[in-house]
Symmetry: D2
Subunit: 340 residues, 4 copies
């Protein structure tokens, strides 16, 4: 850690800082610059207590960590790409995997029609919300357990593994019984108790980025899962909150190369939440594939005009099939493959 003292700090105040650094297990190393004294605190920042408290000292101008705080998710800890296996599907390998299905499970018919259509078009995993987090208590909250059972039925019929959202620590066993991938939504991305409970199921965890989560914080949320014994984490970018109001969120496709640099784990893009508009989904998917996304999570509905949630961002069945056809040459152009 690097501690910068304020200009004009007395030698007594400087000594007090050095003593504190030693007390916390580090070896201080002093550099005298033109205007400032800079102290390097030598020691493992991930094992010793942090030196943040020094910020409270009047003579300290800044405290800057040198080491990154994430360990197990970091590329440094695991230089090769990790792949995550879900049923027969491998995520993070040479194939770009598509997860598709309705925003919410609404009925058996709606789900089966969608599941079969997306499977036919090349999707490898079925998505569908059973428990829905809604901004207002008066909005449709999902079919709950009934929705989960329909997902299991669709899995049996199509062979597609299931991804669905986990909202509550109280639902962990129930959701894990039906799902192959537990999705942690953006609003729960720093609900650490939920992450720990999800991690312990051993299921793969798709961790959406919070609405205003820095990359560093997102990686550390993933670290909660790995630190609890589960290495099957997928980082999913779904749009961040910015000043722009044209779209609901601003999809940060730059997260793909950045997370790839920092971590060995796969990166997923959600183009549906990303912009909140069906007419942008195709373009977002093209960018994502070109930039190296390992998977896409796409909302598809047999009749978006009547969807019980987020109709405006769901593709219809034909639109989804056409999109898959457009994406394959792009995947190929960057040395990847796509099913279908």
């Amino acid at each position: 850690m690097i501690i910068v003292l304020k200009p004009g700090t007395s030698s007594r105040d400087e000594k007090a800082v050095l003593t504190e650094i030693r007390r916390l297990g580090y070896k201080p190393h002093v550099m005298r610059g033109v205007a400032h004294v800079v102290i390097g605190a030598i020691g493992d920042e991930r094992v010793n207590p942090p030196l943040d408290t020094l910020r409270a000292w009047a003579q300290v101008e800044s405290v800057t960590p040198v080491q990154k705080r994430h360990k197990l998710v970091s590329r440094q800890a695991h230089p090769a790409n990790s792949t995550i296996r879900v049923g027969n599907v491998e995520i993070g390998g040479s194939e770009v995997v598509v997860m598709a299905g309705p925003c919410s499970v609404e009925s058996e018919k709606q789900l089966m029609v969608t599941a079969e259509a997306v499977a036919r078009a090349g999707a490898k995993i079925l998505r569908g919300g059973a428990f829905k987090p809604r901004t207002s208590p008066y909005e449709f909250q999902g079919l709950g357990e009934k929705g989960l059972k329909l997902l299991s039925k669709a899995k049996k019929r199509t062979g597609l593994p299931i991804i669905t959202e986990l909202l509550s620590e109280d639902h962990v066993d129930l959701v894990a019984e039906h799902a192959d991938i537990l999705q942690i939504g953006a609003r729960n991305a720093q609900n650490f108790q939920l992450l720990i409970a999800a991690a312990r199921t051993g299921k793969a965890i798709l961790l959406k980025r919070g609405l205003s989560m820095k990359v560093d914080e997102w990686l550390l949320a993933g670290e909660y899962v790995l630190a609890n014994g589960n290495r099957n984490v997928l980082f999913c970018e779904r749009g961040i909150r910015t000043f722009e109001t044209y779209t609901r969120n601003t999809l940060d496709l730059g997260a793909i190369p950045i997370v790839k640099q920092e971590s060995h784990l796969p990166v997923v893009i959600d183009p549906s939440q990303g912009g909140g508009r069906a007419d942008l989904v195709a373009s977002f998917c093209k960018g994502a594939v070109a930039m190296g996304a390992d998977a896409l999570l796409i909302e598809v509905h047999p009749n978006p005009k009547e969807a019980l949630s987020d109709g405006a961002q769901q593709l219809d069945l034909g639109g989804f099939a056409r999109l898959m056809d457009e994406l394959r040459p792009l995947a190929k152009a960057v040395g990847r493959s796509m099913a279908g």
Copy 2:
């Protein structure tokens, strides 16, 4: 709701929209403008299904709600200010209430010394974290139940009611046993399952604003509490996330008059999280009192230089007492009072 059709929409496509509006329980009302057809959908938006799905229709340019989505928290539903009683303390009345105490409960001595000092200086409620949400799994996570018991002990000794954070649905009964106010942290501000569980305890709920939560979303999160039978909600602004990096967060003091306009419930300011810097706390508190905050939530530690969490933003005991002395004339200048 107001639906604007795209220029050049055919009369057949227009009719389809009108039919759908009627199907969903509204009465359409058509206005033909210079370039656009605008349709008013007459009906109670809070009872009928939303018309959001119309956004998915190719001929629709925009769908704008007319009614606000929050009901029970709204000023319209309850024109007078609501007050919340916690023990002998009334929040939302003429007195500006100060809640103070350490970021984390660290030891019996640290807590008792702080509790007695803040009580002496005029604080009316004792704050202290027992379960701490931390960005990294390797940081201090709080004393847990042991911390709660120390808080109860401090309450017995000083008579101050307790506010402490609730992190997990699994802790609801435990935390409610010791706390008078359940704090929902910024990272859980849209963890609706936690809000519902907290609401059902009947305890007062201090709902922090999420890092990038719009006022509308914050009010709706409060609505989850009231819709579950608990009207004791305090809205607490604690700094939002912006582009600025000088401080950890940007304290949005404008939230005070805005929430007061929209809601009848009390507004609390957290100046400690707000900037993440002890040297800004006094200024933030002055602004908050002048702008009409009903309460302040201030981190105080007997020795911030050795705090186990967030030392840089905690006041020491003397600093807190001096601050209280500075705030009283301001409270008086805006027609309020402060204890001490």
Copy 3:
């Protein structure tokens, strides 16, 4: 325009609003909803005075425009894509055009070496800064006129048209003498006097998006150019300012499909400013090409390690040539071509 009155507005107050709407040249149309009175003001919002002042009326809850404010740049005004011709180069057609060169012109040798290398690798336009806007007055501010003359010399040698930044109304004639495209930087994106002066030269204008400019505002800044008689506008996304600190800016690739929907004018991506990091440039370019960008603006330097400005984000000559080779198959996969 749609005016919503507050619940409980008296009929007298309602009448006053109707009178004002008529006074401003609109025909009011009243709809009585469940809780609100909604008034449509029929008339051309782009010709009549705006009704914004109604927001100042106590009985008015909201005023929402129906028409978009941009006219000449809008896709509606010109359904087909516009192409812009600069020398022999056409931007906005089937070829993806690459503009490349150093951040700053530093010396004749640096510029000529770069110009020849980028031309060889397939760039069609040469970029180079002569007047540089710098956050601090103590940073290198560019070679000024000397830099412009070097750019003209490089154009003579390589045949590449020149793009360079215009900073000041006082430089308009000077810069226009040497440049084929005038670049308006992000910090001047709403310096309307500069936009007007630039427009009047008749040169093509590359208009960078401001750091926190909404799409709507960006289009209107472009509208200033067209309204002053110059239709040769290129919209260039170069990263917006968000809460994220991993990169200097957050490149908003979603601006490509959005501007394409709203406007007929070409879209350019600047991947160098976009992230401020050379190691992200290739990935950003791939996304941009896949998503339909018409041109790329890439910083290239013979020795980025010694650049006088922004070394960290410039590609070296070999890196640029390799990038061009990687982009060609992507351009092809989306039905476009690239030179080289």
Copy 4:
């Protein structure tokens, strides 16, 4: 400056960095930590060339400056508060100065009525826009020179010095002839050529914070004025751009104590632009005075309902007088005075 090398950097690559640091005029100082080599570069960062280019080196993980970049505006350079004299008015002293007047000068009558009313209520400086920067080219752009002449006339009648916006380098002489304070608007806050031209007039400069300007950048924009020989700078916070849509901007009142810590120059708050709503102005002013603002810049109009620009945020004459009465006890409570 602090340079951190990537883990595993070879000794040859390390040596190359040390050589470069010496070449640029610094003395390197090496610290070997647990995982990283950290190099302190000793030397005056404000005189020597910056080491930013090291970021382009593959073996470098980060480069962090130690010294702040602003010199002349910094509190360190001038520990006491600076005061700025404009006519008989002193800004930055014990009195809180109020600048008030219409958003735009619209007519002689409108201006004179306002000027006399605000003078009577205690305003010390008259504001009024003659050249108006407008998002759309089709909006009212101000009366221009005619407006300036009316301002001079109002000054003659009331004795109030004038503040008005400078938009263009071409208007510098004209505006300086009529104005006592030149206002640089948020959209031009990094239009450095305009800042330099304004500085050279010797007039006081009110520098509004850009919409997404970090404090550091704002101070450096002020540094452009002082570095060009003019020390009469006022920093004016007028709301930053965030994700929140309830108000047009988010007024960052925390800028008051922060700029006061970093700089010796006065701080002004613009509560009218700050929220874009007249009903928030009073609350914002109260917070500003309590937090130590040196001046307020308030929009006042005899009939906001008919204002040609920004009617929704202007106070009427009675509202302004009432506000002044409410602010005086607050100024007194923080040891300041206010006229009236």
